[in-house]
Structure formats: structure tokens, C-alpha cells
């Protein structure tokens, strides 16, 4: 499996959470709400392109709105490969973080 960075991981989860409405700005807003830091468009776009190139996400063109000057959205979706990657990461994290509260108590 390809290794992915933490930001890629966050974006991947954000896409998963947003389901059908996962386009660039929605992802950006979603992450901004959770992390309390507002990333720039480029900071999301670049990892998105990499994820797409590596086949972890898929995309299709969504509807166009007047708000966007008549341009359609590019909507992302986590691919099978992406889901697999997320599962692996989750498992690794759980194992790695398992004893964390113990350390805190001590």
C-alpha cells in the first residue's frame, strides 16, 4: 500500500464524511470547522490531485450553479483503494494510540 501523509489522510476522511457533496470548497470548510485552521485552496487541491493520481479517490463532474459563474463542481469520492487505505491507517492508529490514556494517568 502507498503511504499517505497526514493531510492526505484528513482530506480522505473529509471526503468520506461529506458523501455526495465532497467538492474542493466543501472539503476545505469541513476541515476548517474541525481543525480551526483555514487552509488555502491550493493546500487542499494539491493533495487531492495526488490522491486522485494514485487512485485513492475518484471524481466526477457535478452540477453547475450561478454562484460559480456557471462552472461545474468536481465532486470527489473515496475509491475502494482509498477505503482500504483508511482502514489500514485506522488500525495502525488504534494500535499505536492504545496505551495513550495510561501514560496520561501516570
Amino acid at each position: 500500500m502507498k503511504t499517505i501523509s497526514r493531510r492526505e489522510e484528513q482530506i480522505l476522511i473529509a471526503i468520506w464524511n461529506l458523501k455526495e457533496s465532497a467538492y474542493l470548497l466543501a472539503i476545505k470548510n469541513h476541515l476548517a470547522q474541525i481543525m480551526e485552521t483555514d487552509w488555502s485552496v491550493g493546500a487542499i487541491h494539491k493533495p487531492l490531485m495526488k490522491l486522485e493520481k494514485e487512485g485513492l479517490v475518484e471524481s466526477y463532474m457535478g452540477e453547475a450553479t450561478a454562484k460559480r459563474g456557471g462552472r461545474s463542481k468536481k465532486i470527489y469520492r473515496v475509491s475502494k483503494l482509498g477505503i482500504g487505505a483508511l482502514k489500514t491507517i485506522k488500525k495502525e492508529h488504534d494500535v499505536l494510540w492504545a496505551k495513550f490514556p495510561v501514560i496520561k494517568k501516570a
Binding site: 467538492y23 474542493l24 470548497l25 488555502s40 485552496v41 491550493g42 487541491h45 490531485m49 463532474m61 453547475a64 450561478a66 454562484k67 460559480r68 459563474g69 462552472r71 461545474s72 463542481k73 468536481k74
Partner: protein, 870 residues
Amino acid sequence: MKDKKETPPPLGEKILKIFLPKGESESVTGDYEELYAEIAQIRGKSRAIFWYWIQIMKSIWAGVTIHVWWSLIMLKSYVIIALRYLKRHKIYSVINISGLAIGIACCALILLWINDEIQYDRFHQQTDNLYRVLNDLNYGPYSQLTDGTAFPLGPAMKEEIPEVREIVRILPTRKILIAHGEKKYYEENFFFTDPSLFSIFTFPFIQGDPDTALSSPSSIVITQDMASKYFGNEDPIGKTIKTQNQNDYMVTGVMENIPKNSHLQFGFLGSIERAVTMGARTHWSGWLYDTYVLLQPNTSFKEVNTKLEAWIKAQGDEESRYYLQPLSDVHMYGLQGEGAIRPLSFFSILALLILIIACINYMNLATARAGTRAKEIGLRKVVGAKKNNIIRQFMSESIMFAFFALSISVLLVMLFLPVFSQISGKELSMNLVQNKFLFLGILGITLLTGVLAGSYPAFFLSSFQPDRILKGTLSAKKIGTSTTTIRKSLVVIQFILTIVLIISTTTVYRQMNFIKNRQLGFEKNHLIYTQLRSEGNLWDQYDAQKTWMNYKTLKNELSQNPNVLDVASATCIPFGSMGQEFGQLEWEGKDPEYQVTMNHMAVDPHFFKTFQMEMIEGRFLSDKFSSDTQNFILNEAAVIATGLESPVGKRFRLLDKTGIITGVIKDFHFAPLHDEIEPMVLHLMPYQYWMYRNYVFARISTENISRTIASIEKIWERAIPEYPFEFQFLDNTIDAEYRSEQRLEKILRIFTFLAISISCFGLFGLIAFTAEQRTKEIGIRKVLGASVGSVVRLLSKEFVMLVVLANIIAWPVAYFMMTKWLKNFAYRTKIDFAIFLFSGLAALIIAIITVCVQSIKAALANPVDSLRYE
């Protein structure tokens, strides 16, 4: 909340699209627009715009760093490798860089020359709006393009065509005598003009006021040089000069010297009011005046041309068709392309050929040695270099070589600039800092050289397949030989160019020799001549009696001097302008319908002896027969033109003279060898001719020439004190007619030498490489008993064949070119097959010597050294 939707600046969006990846631009610009609207809503439009531009800046910056930074890193690696390579293969580098340096230097020198020529007439502040009026003249049998225009044309143009802001007329004069006190000289730069000259052109004054300097007909404006020539250190203002010993002018202004790059070269400017006769003011068919016009800024001169043509037609003037020529074209194109452009374009092509020969060297050596770089390329490809990267690497390498060469060529240019200035007849200087054209031009040539030289090797080298190289299936030697066909053809091209140049140079040289040795029909050497008095202009009055007496006295005195062999006078000088007659020409039995133009020349009876002319039949005109003043001598061409079977004794009429033909003279050249000898009629100088122009010729003995001339001068001063003795040698005057051909010969000779040298450098490099590759083969051959001779033959055979092949192709090309060039001359040397053979052999011998030096070295090497490690 407003309903109106905010949209980002459209320019910004366009820039953004450039930097976004292809498939993404639509959705991402949409995202940006959405975000922009949001920010505009919450924080205001100005903040949104600011934010938007910051985003763009960031993306540009990112783009720049990614592209420039990383390519710089790669470039650094390319440079290091190239430098190492340069150091390791010294012969190869020296051949390449020196060849390219010579090529670039040639181009740079020609560029300096071009630069000098295009600067002509650009120093005027209003250059872009200045035009010369040309006149396409159709007058009787004559049709001619001239810069002569009618006197009333200028003012009429100013009146009728609103685009014409100002006009100036200039009346050039023939050689004029100018005197101040004891100082007397003939001057050719005396012009009459309108006072508007100073407001149209930029000729700054040192003393005097340009507005009023020419307001009086007797005033004159002179240049600084003329001021010091005639007045020394005195203040010239208010002083008087006399022209033609009869007209007084008062100096009212002193101009700065006219820049060398002006096609108008004045020394003296008089008021045109003084020169124009009453009749000429309204005369539309006297085309003596040059007219220049200043148009309103930003007007198209083509429109003015149309208006001018329509207006002239409306006036019923059917002889002239006037049109404007931009001032900046005057020097470059002349009247119809005979200006500086022709030699310049020819020499530019020559310089480019030299550069191409040098570039071929680079290509050949780079591809021949490609094998030595194969592993490097293979490795680069393995670690991720694409074809493009390799191309870029070798391009940057060749461009780097070109810049090395540039630095050497700058030195070469500085070294050879004085020589080149002398050949081109220009005062050239290299000022790269101030001159953008030169700077960019030389930079451009260098880049072009780099790209041209690097292109083929770059594409060839980048096509290697890394697996085959690294596995060893594609050996260095195989790579070297895979391009031999192309390399051979390039060598052939080099030698074709070289041989064509050799043949051209030889032919031009032979033609120049032919001209030098051609029997002109008279003896041009040791013949000096001068004007008997200043040439008459229309408005000057001359006393025929006085001129005639002057000549008699002078001739008597000169005949006392034993070193002066003969003295004669005539109305024309050979190779100068002749009188031509078309209508007033008749002879016995002439068909009245038949028309012919003949040149005519009035001479005194001693002319034939002084010029040592040859008679075919009949006798020379003589002062022993009083009737001879009405008689004529024809040259052979004239006899053919008349169609007379036995011309001697036949009646002949020219203008108001009727007499008989006393003799036929052998054809002699009175014009450059470019022209066929035309019909010529000679007759004795009638008394009234002493009013027009006259020349005195004196044949002097070959010994003590300077003493003879000094004594002639003394005699002159006694006999004709009112005119200066400014003599010339006739042979010098005749030589000067071939100046452009002499220049061509010199430049061709230099370029041919360079072409030969560079081609041989290349050949030397190639053979050195081949020998190096075949070291072992040669070693084994020698061990098995091969002689030095057979090894040399083995190595040189193929190159010699190439030069032979080049000869075969070059001959027809050169033959075609040289026949065309020789057609400029009515009298020319034959194109001899021997020239071709000689030129081809010369190229071959030089090539063989080059090849042998290297192959003998290889053949003499001890086989023990080359086979030691096997």
C-alpha cells in the same frame, strides 16, 4: 444582503487558468469564484479582490520556483559536465571554439558594418517624417529614375497637399572654384538651398542664426571644416568668399561638420534665390533640384504619393511621375536598390556561410564523439531524465560553447577592426554598451550559433536507449559509426562551400587582372590631367577668348619642359561623362527613319598623340588642314552603327558642324569595362567650346615624376594664376571606377582563407578521432606487416573521396554563379576549366595535408604501445 453577485476580476481568472493543471482549471476557477463571492459578502469587495490577487501571486511564485529553480539546478550539473569534457578533450574543444569564434567574429564585423549603414540619416530629429522626392522621368527617348525635380514642385506640394508640413529644395553644383584671398580650391560640396533646410534637417549652427542666415541671396553658410580651411583661426562671420572668380558671398553662419553618415554632404550652402533663373521658377521640365519634404507626424507617405500623382496628372505634366522615398531608405536603397543594401546582403551571406562551416565542425565532432558520452546519457536516462532533458542538456552545452567562442570573437573583432574598417571604407567602432542593435544582434548570432550547432547532436544523442547502452550491445564505436553518412554529407557540404569560395575568388581575381591589363586603346599611365578652369554652371559667364589664351600660354610654356612629352585638351575625360547626341546626327546615305545615339567629344589636334591612340584607316585630325575644324573621326563602333562600308571621306553632320570623316580610330574604352564600347565621334574643339568645361592632359616622362609635377605647377601659376592646379593621374581615376570590385576581391579572399582553415580544422578533428578509435586495428595491421604508407592510405582514403565528391558538386554551382557575376562586365575573362581544376586541386591538397599529418602520426605509433594491454 445584496442580490447582486460579486465576480472576481476577469484578468485574474485568466492568469489563474494558465497556472492550473489542464483538466482542473474549470472546477478550480469555479471554486475560487465561489470563495471569492463568500469573502466579498462577509468582508467586503476590496478585501475579496485583494485576497484573490494574493492567491494568484502565490500560484505564480510557486510556478516560478518549481520551473526555474529546478532547471537551474540541472543547468549547474550540465555546465559542470560540459566544462569537464572541455578540459578533457582539448583538441576537440580548441577546434570547436576557435571555429565558432571566427564564424561569430565574421558575423559581428558584418553586423558592425550593417549597423553603420542603417544609422545613415538617422541623426535628424524628424527623420521618421522626412522624405526625398523621386522622379520617374519619361522624356523623349530617355526614361530614367532620378532625384531631380522641378523647381516649382516643392512649393506646390506644400500648398496642395495638407500632409506636407515643410519642403526644401537643394541644388547641387558641379565642382566649383572657391577663393578667399590667396586660398583657392575646387570644391564639390557647394549647394544652393532654401532657408527651411535648417528647420527640417538637424544641422546645428555654431555661429549665426539659422532663421536669418540665408535670407539674403549673397549670404552663405559654411561648415566648421571649411571655415578653418579658408579662414584659419580668424572669425569667418562677415568675411567674403568668391566663387568662380566672379560671385561674392558673405559668410553669415557656421554649421557643425556634417556627420559622416549623412547622404547629404555640404561644405557650403548658398541661397537658392541666387542660383535660380527667372524662367526656372515656373518651369516644370527642368529637373535640377532635389526636393525633400517634411510630413505631418503619423501620416502615411503612400497616401501622399497617391495624392501627389493625382495632382500632377491634373496639372497635365506627363513627363514626370513623382513619389516620396523615406529618408532612411536613401542610403540603403539609392534610387532603385543600387544603394548599400546589395554589397551588404552579399557579405552577410558570406559571413553566415563561414558560421555554418564552423557549426558543421561542431556537429560532426559532437556526433563522432557521441560514443564517449553514451554511458553518461544512459545513466541520466536511468535515473529519470527524459528525452527533453537530454536535448536541453546538449543544447545548453552548445550554447555554452558559443558563448565561450563569443568572448574570443570579441577579442578577434577588436584586433581586426582597423583592417576591416579599411577594407569596408568605414570608420567602424564597437560600442556594445550604447548600441542596443549591435548588442542584441551579436547576442542573437551567438544564441543562433549555439542552437544551430547543438540541434543535431542534441536530437541524436537524446535518442539513445539506456538499456542497450548499459548492457553493452550499443558500443561506443557503433554509435560513432551510425552517423557516418550524415557526417560525411556535412563534410561534403563544408567543402562545397569552400571550393565555391575558392573558385569565386580566383575568378574575381582573374577578372580584376584582366581589367588591369586590358589594353584600353590609349595609354593611361603617366598621364596627368586637370580642369583648365572651373566648370561652368548655367548661371556663370565665361569668356571663351580668355580660356583659349590661357591654354595657349600654358601649352607653350609646358612644351619647353623636356619632361612633359605631350599636352592636349578635351571636353571630357575618359571614364567621365561624355556628350551624347541623338537627333542632330546625319551621314551620307543615312536612312531617315534610323535612329542612333552617339557619344561625342571635342579635342585639340594633339589629343590623339597624347593619348597614343591607334588609327585603323584614314588620318588623324590635324591643325595643318584648316578644313579639319569641320571634320570628324569615328571609332569602329560608330562605323558599325552608321553601316558605312568605306567611311573615310563620307559626309557627316553632328549638331551644327558638317564635314567629312577623315579617319576611323580603333575602339578605345572611354567607360568602365562593365559597358560595351559605344559609338563615339571625335572632332576638333570649335572656338565657342572654350566656354564650356575643358580639361588639360599632359603626358609626362617616367623619370622624376614629382619634380616634373612641381615644375608644371610653377608654370601653371605663372600662366593661369586665377585657377588652382589640382591635378590627378588618369590611371588612378580609372582604378577608382572599380573600387567596389576591389573591395569584393579583398573580402572574398579573406573569407575564403577562413573557410579553408575552418573546414580543415574540422577534418583534422575528425581524422584524429578516427585514428584514435582505430588505434588497435592499426597496431595489429602493423604487427602483421602493414607499411606506414598503407596505413596512411587506409585512414585518408575516405576523406579524400569526400573532397573529390565536393568538387564535382561545387563546380557547376560556382560556374553558374561566376557566369552571372561576369555578366556585369561587357569585357570579361573567360571562365577557364583550369580554374576549377586548380581550385579543386588546391582544396584537395590542403585536405590531404591535413589528413596526412594526423594519419602519419597514427601510422608511426609503435604497435607495442597500442597493444600492450591486450
